[in-house]
Homo-oligomer: 472 residues x 2
Amino acid sequence: MSIQKPSIPQGTRDFGPAVVARRNYIFGIIRRTFEKFGYAPLETPTLENLSVLTGKYGDEGDQLLFKVLNSGNFLKKQKGDKITEQVTAADLEAGAKTVLPKIAEKGLRYDLTVPFARYVVMNRGTLTFPFKRYQIQPVWRADRPQRGRYREFYQCDADVVGTDSLLCEAEIVLMMSEVLNALGLTDFTIKINHRGVLRNIYQALNTEARETDLFVAIDKLDKIGRDGVTKELLERGFSEQAAGQLFELLAVEGSFTDKLEKLRAAFGAAGVPTEAADAYKGLQELGQVVDFLTAFGFEQFDHLEFDPTLARGLSYYTGCIFEIKINNVNMGSVSGGGRYDNLTGAFGLPGVSGVGFSFGVDRLYDCLDELNLFPESAATTTRCLVTNFDQETMPLLLPVLRELRAAGVPSEMYPESGKLGRQFKYADAKGIPYVLIQGPDERAAGQFKLKDMKTGEEKTLSLEQVLATLTA
Amino acid sequence: MSIQKPSIPQGTRDFGPAVVARRNYIFGIIRRTFEKFGYAPLETPTLENLSVLTGKYGDEGDQLLFKVLNSGNFLKKQKGDKITEQVTAADLEAGAKTVLPKIAEKGLRYDLTVPFARYVVMNRGTLTFPFKRYQIQPVWRADRPQRGRYREFYQCDADVVGTDSLLCEAEIVLMMSEVLNALGLTDFTIKINHRGVLRNIYQALNTEARETDLFVAIDKLDKIGRDGVTKELLERGFSEQAAGQLFELLAVEGSFTDKLEKLRAAFGAAGVPTEAADAYKGLQELGQVVDFLTAFGFEQFDHLEFDPTLARGLSYYTGCIFEIKINNVNMGSVSGGGRYDNLTGAFGLPGVSGVGFSFGVDRLYDCLDELNLFPESAATTTRCLVTNFDQETMPLLLPVLRELRAAGVPSEMYPESGKLGRQFKYADAKGIPYVLIQGPDERAAGQFKLKDMKTGEEKTLSLEQVLATLTA
C-alpha cells in the first residue's frame, strides 16, 4: 500500500465540526418548522435506477446525472453476470447510447422531487392523501464546480400532494417567514406569482408568438434587464407594441390587492376572455391566498410581494410560484417552489395536484455567515473541559465528569495528564466555553475553579454552583 | 417521456415517515450521547476519489466499492475532456485494470473510517489533537443484498485520535451502556478484549505456526464451535497440545479482574516473556480500563464481560477491542470497535494512535422493533388535526391553528372542507393523536371539541384548556 497525498473530488466538501454544528442549526429550524405544519419526514435512497431519473430533467439534466457502474463485470476476459452484458469494440464504435446501458443502470439522486413522485406512485395503495412530506437529503450534479456551486449539496423540500386547497400555498408563505424569522433574517421578500397570471399576460398581448418564449424571456428580466428581454421578444416574433404592453402590465404598482385589481382591469381592457371556467384564475387564487393569510393573522404582509415578473423557468409549475430574496445580502434566491398538476404523471399516476417548496441550505448558510447571525451556541458542542492535573488525582475527577454529563452538560476530560497550558489551548481551539480545574487547595476545600474562557474570569465554586452555572 | 413502472435499486430502501421518525429517535440518542462525551460532528462527501478508497478494505472490499462514471466522455465519436481518456478496443481486450481508471475515478463512501483518516491527514495542520469526532452518514457496498444486508446503510462512528489514554476506552464503555440504557435495551453484554491478550495467548502456545492463523480461527469460534476451530488450527500447523492449551486459556472464568489474574498466572506458567516493555500489556490495560470505570462510579459491571475469545477479524486493531451483543434478540453484534495504531499511515501520517467504535442502526432498529421498545412519541410528528367543517367557517379556525403552532404543538388543518369521517380517517392513518372540532354550537359558546383518537373520548374545552392538554 503506497503512501499517497489524499484529496477529495472537485465540487465536494468536508464539513468540520464547527460547520456541521452551524448547518445542523439551520436544518433544525427548517425541520421543526416543517413538522410544526404537519409535514412528515421521508428519505429515499441515494442510488436510483437511471430509468427513473433519465428524461425528467431535460437533456441538460441527463448530462449532469452521476452514473454508477454496475457491480457485475462488463469487460472482456471476465465472467459476465445476470445484470450486465459485455461491452464490445462494436459498442464502442456505436457510442455512448449503446455502451451506457450496458455498464450503468443506477445513478445518484439529482433532486428530491422526482424520487418523491416515484415514492408516491410506488406507495399509492398505502399512503393517506393528502400526503405531506418533507425531505432533507443531499443531491448530486455533475456540473462544472464554481464558487457557490457544488457537485454534492443538500436540498430541504416540503411538498403536499393530493389536494388543490390554497390553504397549502398560504401555509408555505407562513413556513417561509417562520424559518427566516427564526434564523434572524429580517430583511427578506417573499415573491409570489401565478402561472395563470403569466398566461393572462400572454393573452393580453394578443400575439401569434409562442407563450413559452414569453415565459423564458420574462424569467431573464433580473439578469438581462428590460432592453435584453425586449430584444429577445422581438427576435421571437413579438411586436414592439406587444413588448411595450408587456412592460406596462409588469410595472403594475401598489399593495398586493391593488396590483391584483389593476391587473384584472388591464386584462379586461385588453380583451382577455372571461368566459372560461378558469378565467383570471391566477388573480383569483392569489387573492384567496391573501385572504387565508389574513385569517391566520399573518403579520408580515410588508415582506410579501406579488411579482408578476416571477416566472421560475420552464419547470413543471402550473399554479402559484414562490421565491425568497434576502435583500441585504448579494445572493440569488434562498428558497423557491410552486404548484404542479402532474408531477407523478411520468410514473403512470396522472392528475395528482401538489405544491411544494425548497430551501437552499448553502445559500442560507452564506447569508447567516455574512450577516453574523449564527448564535454562539451553534458553534460548539462541548461545554466544559475538565482538566487532567496528574495521573494520581485524575480518577478523582471522573465522578464530577459523570455528574456534569448526567446534568446534560456536554463535557470531556483532557485525556492526558499534565501541561495545563496545553489543555487550555485545546479548550480554546475547540471553542469550549468553560474549563474546570481542581488543584490540591481546591480539593482540600471540596471546591473547584471554573474558568470562563471568553472573559478569562475564574471563580471558586462548589460542585453545585458549577452545575448551576453550566446548566444556566 | 414514456410511462414506466417505477422501482428502486436492489438493496436500497425508501424510509417512510413512521420509519424515519423511529430511526431519528435512535440517531438522536446516539448523537446526544456522543456530544455529551465531547465528540464533535464531522461530515465527509459521499463521493471519494478511488485513489483514497482502493486498497484500504482488502481485495474483497475493492470489489464491493461502487464506482461512479466520470462525467467527461470516454467513448469514441465523442469529444474527450481533460479528465478522461478514450477507451479503445485494445483496452477492452486488456481488461478491467486498464479500462476502469479511464472511466471511473470516483467511488461511493464504503465506511466512515477511511474518510475520517483522510480528513485528519488533510487537515492535520489546523486540527487540535486529540481530535474527537463522531460521524453519522450512509455508506455503500456492492454486496449481494439479503435479509438484513443492504447496499446503502448508515453507520454511526465515534473516534478519537492523537492520544493513547485509556480514559477513551473507559468512556467508550460508558457511551455504549448509556445508549443502550436510553434505548431501553436492558439485556446486553459489552464484550471487551485486547489484541495484546491474544498475542500473549499465542506466545503461551509456544508454537511455530502463524499468529494471524490463530486470530482468524478464534474469530470463528461463535460460528464453527470448538471442534471447527480445532480442525482449522490443526490444518494450519498447530499441535493438538497447543489447541488444547488454547481452549484452557480461553475457558478462564470468574469476575473481570479474576480472569485478568488467572490469565496473568497462566501466561507466567507457560513462559510468556515478561521482560519486554509491553509485556502483559493487554491484561494491564484492561485492568486500567476497569479502574477508570470504577472511578467513574460505573454501575453496570454485570453487563461488561472480558471475553478472551473476541478477536474482531483481521482488522487494523492493535489494543482494546469491543463488541455489544443484545442477549434477548437473535442478532449479531449491534456495535463494535477498538484501538488502532496506524489508521492514517496509508495517507502519510504514521504513528497516530486512536480508538473508536460504531453502532449499527439497522440492527438496533430491528432489536427495538422486536422488543416493542419504540416509544409512541417516536412514531408521529403531527399532534393535532384541526377539522375543516366548511368553506365559510374554515378561516375562523386558522388563528387557532396558529396558536397551537406558536405553543409548539405540531398541527395541521385538513386542507379540504366537508366529510368529517374522511378527516378522522386521515388522522387515524397518520397516527395523529388529537382531533379538534368546532361545530356551530361550540362556536357560539366559544369552545372546542377535542377528541382523543386512542380512547375515542371527546371533551368540550376552551382554547386555553385545549392548549394545556396538547402541551402536557
